[in-house]
């Protein structure tokens, strides 16, 4: 059995502050991390590896520096890593990214199970995972918070609005996971050290069985036409509560006025 996990490197947001005047983000340093739900996907793959002896392959697409994300995945227990990198991939939208990843999964596979995080914290589209599944002709189950493998079939629980759906799906399949599925463990030191020395194969566009016209900016059907900064800060009306309850009264009045009570 082979499990392929899709991993993305994203900017760390934990220590980001907001500029009080402009309401824009101040990104201290340039720290990058493994996309949080991708860590959950890796954790789930490694758990299944322990259950079944499956081989786990982590695949990422990004700049050379994204190797770091793959090293972190390796330290979590992944068997081998693969990076798609090169100018041909630059400017890819979700579908162009999915095309490249699907081709890589096919070449590095076949995969019995493809796992990915539900969405990345930078783009926040949640589209690439399902698109990879569609391009590979696999059934896709998203927003999964519980995964049980029995023989060659998955029992899944997905979080939806107002509750949960139980889904049964045979392998091969693509599953995207949410944060609640598991708690990624701290990688053991010996694997961290080994990950540092790991040589990660880097595939360019030539390594994939795809026409160049389908990759990168040129292969992307969507394009950013304009970027602008919304003003986040609002004109705050302040109340300091010292027992007078003025703030609460103002809030209650507002609720009444809006017809929200």
């Amino acid at each position: 059995m082979r499990i392929i996990v899709l991993v993305k490197q994203v900017p760390a947001t934990d220590n980001v502050k907001m500029d009080e005047k402009t309401g824009t983000m101040i990104r201290a340093g340039g720290d990058n991390v493994v996309n949080p739900t991708d860590e959950n996907a890796v954790t789930e793959a490694v758990r299944l590896k322990k259950e079944t002896g499956a081989e786990v392959v982590a695949v990422s697409m990004g700049p050379e520096a994204a190797q770091q994300a793959l090293r972190e995945a390796y330290a979590m227990g992944v068997d081998r890593c693969l990076l798609l990198s090169g100018r041909a991939f630059a400017g890819s939208d979700t579908i162009a990214t999915a095309r490249a990843l699907a081709a890589a999964v096919q070449k590095a596979g076949p995969a019995d199970l493809v796992l990915a995080g539900e969405r990345a914290t930078d783009g926040e589209t949640g589209q690439t995972g399902p698109m990879v599944g569609a391009l590979l002709g696999l059934p896709v189950v998203t927003y999964v918070q519980k995964l049980v493998l029995t023989g060659d079939s998955l029992e899944l629980e997905r979080i939806v609005e107002g509750g949960f759906e139980r889904v049964v799906c045979p392998l091969p399949a693509l599953v995207t996971v949410v944060k609640g599925i598991n708690q990624p463990p701290i990688p053991p030191l010996h694997l961290k050290l080994r990950a540092k020395k790991l040589t990660i194969p880097v595939w360019g566009a030539d390594d994939l069985d795809l026409p160049a016209a389908e990759l990168g900016l040129g292969g992307s059907p969507t394009r950013v036409a304009r970027i602008f900064s919304p003003k986040l800060s609002r004109a705050t009306v302040w109340y300091r509560e010292n027992g007078g309850r003025e703030g609460l009264s103002a809030l209650a009045d507002w609720l009444t006025g809006e017809g929200l009570l």
Partner: protein, 345 residues
């Protein structure tokens, strides 16, 4: 050539009542469908196009409201017989088939767990562009292209995106537009289409839907969200937030810290690694306001923050800032609201 079409994908999930397509359930679409119709009519007006709304494998008892709220045609596509409901995979097959037949110029769906799964599957198969979670849609008066605006990088940047392939597909954030008004005089057509069962044969199967009683009011659909954070001290402090939500008929939200401390379940988490909400009122209690959290709620119409630290970042996005001890203020607020409601009868 026949008139261009804007296709609206109906969201047939009734969040507070369970799923519509269970036999005992109420068969109707939910509010976001009418928000999409509002968008659809606006775009269609600018394009001189007609508006179709499609029901993917779910039949309703009555289609009048969809027509009165803006649909020129209601397209009802038959679903899998005897199943709990169509899976996103089955819905995607129906939608793909319909798009191939009707060739709409624009396809919009709600940015919900269903829409955000079905639309990527269809876009990938049709090799067309898809923009996620748009908060604003417009038509470029020059080239008639769909202008799709969405928050990026945690809402700190807005990007307007254009698609050079057709159809132009987008998912739209719930609550980002008001629902279309009802016009009793509006006329429209209901078209039922039966597809072969083979179209609906997918490997995955939906077994059951389990309602989550802790999500009594759905977070992404609620008018009011009351959310709690680490500043509440412990689980008993968070219970106050749940009680406040109870009297307000609000949904309960939580910061990542509160979820990690085990005070609330993950489905309640608001922020980058949780849900994105845009209610009429977001009441943040004991939440410091890390970017991680702000990304999930800063498009709320009105934001009120209660926190004992006047320097808390949450106040930067607040319309009303109440500085004080949440453990003292929340019970007082509950009392006040309960009294107001009692007075109203």
């Amino acid at each position: 050539m026949s008139q261009a079409r804007v296709l609206v994908v109906a969201e047939d999930r009734v969040s507070t009542r369970g799923r519509v397509y269970t036999t005992e359930g109420v068969r109707r679409v939910n509010r976001v469908t009418y928000e999409l119709l509002n968008r659809g009519r606006d775009l269609a007006g600018k394009l001189g196009a007609g508006v179709d709304v499609v029901l993917l494998g779910v039949a309703l008892d009555d289609y009048t409201e969809l027509i009165q709220r803006g649909a020129d045609r209601v397209l009802v596509l038959s679903g899998p017989a005897g199943a709990v409901g169509p899976t996103p995979g089955q819905r995607a097959r129906l939608l793909e088939q319909l798009i191939r037949e009707e060739e709409p110029v624009v396809v919009i769906a709600a940015a919900t767990t269903t829409g955000r799964t079905v639309m990527p599957l269809v876009a990938a198969r049709l090799k067309t562009g898809l923009t996620a979670d748009c908060t604003s849609l417009d038509i470029d008066p020059g080239d008639q292209a769909l202008l799709q605006t969405r928050p990026a990088i945690g809402g700190n940047i807005m990007a307007t995106i254009k698609t050079r392939t057709r159809p132009q597909m987008a998912t739209v954030r719930p609550r980002s537009a008001p629902p279309a008004e009802r016009d009793p005089a509006r006329q429209g057509q209901v078209v039922e289409r039966q597809y072969g069962e083979d179209l609906l044969v997918t490997p995955e199967r939906l077994v059951e839907f389990i309602r989550d009683v802790t999500q009594e009011v759905d977070l992404e659909e609620a008018d009011i969200v009351v959310a709690g954070g680490k500043g509440l001290g412990d689980r008993s402090g968070f219970v106050l937030v749940e009680k406040l939500a109870g009297v307000l008929g609000a949904a309960v939200g939580a910061s990542r810290d509160a979820v990690e401390l085990g005070w609330a379940g993950y489905p309640h988490q608001v922020g980058l690694s949780g849900k994105t909400v845009a209610p009429r009122l977001y009441l943040a209690v004991g939440i410091s306001g890390k970017i991680q959290h702000l990304a999930g709620m800063q498009t709320a119409r009105t934001i009120v923050a209660i926190n004992n630290d006047p320097g808390a970042q949450i106040f930067q996005v607040a319309d009303m800032g109440i500085v004080g001890d949440a453990l003292e203020l929340v019970p007082a607020l509950i009392e006040k609201i309960a009294a107001l409601k009692a007075a109203k009868g």
